[in-house]
């Protein structure tokens, strides 16, 4: 009787109108959604601004100004004895080639009737990059039958001229700049009209070595890319097997006691140690104690290995932990040994997680700068390291350090190059992440 009475008069109101508590809960949920959307919005905006600024500043580094001109490779200058002997050819320095280029350009200006009032010979000479002579020389040494011919070449223009084409240098700034004259810019205008000077894709930005402060137009990333690649090889070869072995041991074999707890805590701590500390460690151990050379990718690789190991160990252990225990029971239950259980069943199932962790670790290592500064990777390196394994001991640069290096230089032409280097770095990182995703897809299995 009493029951029936309770049912006939509901305590709360109609279902069609929300009570206060429900309203409050719904508002809270709406508020939370807005927070989330705002957070994502801010993150996306930051990303867009970052990419826009990097691309805006850096894309121009991939295009460089060249002068299209016929160059007379005078046999009297380049090969006085006329025997095309390689050793004799090498005796002609870049100064000789530089004169040839000047003569050819002067000739071109005369032929085209480009009369600029007050244009000095030195103005004409400075239109051409100091590096151009070396480039032409290398080309002739590699290909001696060019001697005596007049070949049409794309000769690297001076960085200031390049800056003029890219809007970095103007007539006004040229008046205040001792490195470029207004007359040169006028000449550039004339030459542009006739198609004698223009921008084209600059492979040597990716392949060439770094150049000095005075020749931003010739600076490239070749040595840095090689150095970074070598270090990644060292990290992969050392950190992956060591990290995976350590994780398997800790996760599957080690007794669970105070010591392994301590090790576990310390691995987590290591992952949080500032990278510069690893640099100091590397300097002390690998260079001062073990006597390895400075600026060498092997040392960089070892330091980055130490840094990457905790990342790999933590992600590998997580991946191993995520393998259902029932799979281990199944294998042990039919008489597989612990080792067989781990290698036949647990590792294949953990592989996607391990690979993802490894690649994330590698990507971190690729972008790491601070520890490399301490072990001398910041040095100015013009020579390409040899092929590995010997090349691992040759001096080299690294991509992020090259970025840092270029941002430190006075000439504004290096700003564009630093951004260009960041683009290259980002492309490598994107490629690595893409590989991680692909591998994950390939190895992922359901159970």
């Amino acid at each position: 009787m009493t029951n029936a009475a309770v049912h006939s008069t509901p305590r709360s109101g109609s279902l069609f109108s929300q009570d206060q508590r429900t309203r409050r809960r719904n508002t809270a949920e709406r508020r939370f959604r807005i927070y989330g959307q705002a957070a994502i919005g801010i993150a996306m905006m930051a990303l867009v601004i970052l990419l826009a600024s990097v691309l805006g500043n850096g894309l121009s580094a991939f295009r460089q100004t060249f002068i299209n001109m016929p160059v007379t490779l005078d046999a009297d200058v380049l090969d006085k004895k006329g025997n095309r002997d390689a050793d004799d050819l090498k005796k002609v320095t870049t100064i000789g080639y530089s004169k040839l280029l000047l003569n050819s350009l002067t000739q071109l200006i005369e032929d085209q009737g480009l009369a600029i009032e007050g244009l000095a010979a030195s103005d004409i000479k400075d239109m051409i990059s100091d590096d151009a002579a070396a480039q032409v020389r290398n080309r002739v040494l590699a290909n001696p039958e060019l001697i005596g011919q007049t070949v049409s070449l794309k000769v690297l223009a001076n960085g200031r001229i390049d800056g003029y084409l890219k809007g970095r240098v103007s007539m006004e700034s040229a008046e205040r700049d001792s490195n470029v004259s207004v007359n040169q810019l006028r000449l550039t205008d004339e030459m542009m009209e006739r198609g004698l000077i223009g921008k084209s894709f600059n492979w040597s930005f990716i392949t060439a070595a770094d150049a000095s402060e005075l020749r931003p137009e010739a600076a490239g990333l070749g040595v840095a890319i090689l150095g970074s690649a070598y270090m990644m090889i060292v990290v992969l070869v050392l950190a992956l097997p060591i990290g995976v072995a350590a994780s398997i041991y800790l996760e599957e074999f080690a007794p669970k006691n105070r010591w392994t707890d301590l090790i576990e805590v310390n691995i987590s701590n290591l992952a949080a140690v500032p990278s510069i500390v690893f640099g100091i460690l590397g300097l002390a151990i690998f260079i001062n104690f073990a006597g390895l050379p400075q600026s060498a990718p092997i040392v960089g690789g070892l330091v980055l290995t130490l840094m990457t190991l905790p990342t790999i160990i933590i992600s590998t252990r997580a991946a191993i932990k995520a393998v259902p225990p029932s799979i281990r029971d199944a294998a042990l239950g039919i008489g597989a040994s612990k080792m067989q259980t781990v290698f036949h069943h647990v590792l294949p199932l953990a592989a996607p997680g391990i690979l993802t962790g490894t690649i994330i670790g590698l990507a971190q290592a690729l972008g790491e700068t601070a520890p490399l500064l301490l072990i001398g990777m910041v040095a100015f390196v013009r020579d390409f390291p040899a092929a590995p394994p010997e090349g691992l001991f040759d001096p080299a640069a690294a991509l992020p350090v090259q970025v840092y290096n270029w941002t430190q230089r006075a000439d504004p032409a290096f700003v564009e190059r630093a951004s260009g280097a960041i683009i290259v770095l980002l492309i490598f990182l994107l490629a690595m992440n893409a590989v991680a995703i692909l591998l994950r897809r390939k190895f992922e299995r359901r159970w």
Partner: protein
Amino acid sequence: MNVMRQTDDTTATAEIKIAAKGVQVYYGDNHAIKDVDVDIADRTVTAFIGPSGCGKSTFLRCLNRMNDTIDICRVEGKITLDGEDIYDKRVDPVQLRAKVGMVFQKPNPFPKSIYDNVAYGPRIHGLARSKAELDEIVEKSLRRAALWGEVKDRLNAPGTGLSGGQQQRLCIARAVATSPEVLLMDEPCSALDPIATAQVEELIDELRSRFAVVIVTHSMQQAARVSRKTAFFHLGNLVEFGETGQIFTNPRDPRTESYITGRIG
């Protein structure tokens, strides 16, 4: 204890395969199995019943030393297989587990093909000298698990793609493939529907002709249907052990009676 001795006499016909004497199991400070004596007869189905948490699985896992994988677990007492102490220092548990196979509560096929699931055991134990021999073992095991007809056309399909009942029979085939002498089953039907359960029970009845089968079950009907002998566990004690018929119709211990009539558990 005396009670158990008496019931033993009636089944003295079967040879003793596993003899457990004074077995104690501790998980840290938790005394999970208290002084249990059980004899498992060869070519017979023995059922372990009892309320949940009473130690059935724990005791079962002692019989193939799966408890070794649990760090805090300590086993005392003596368990012999064909008269050899399985906890002897010279015994490699890996070798023991090849002789004493196990089927788990939840079907746990490897995420590999049906063929590889069954072939894994023979491969690691080197039971087949050629591909043809391995094929034969796989077929024989799948037939024995009453699964051959359903999967013979898709041996390369993943084992995890089968239905729950088929997966459990695949796990039985996998356990049978290593030619064990004893088969331990820990609630093999608890994750299965009634039809799959009936199939597995039928299978157990056939397996009995070759192996000593020990089955843990929380279903008394199941114990009654498949087993010849039944052990009733309660709070880590073995309360009663005897002929299944006798346990269910005429229990000697009041606790057994309460459990069977639904008053404990």
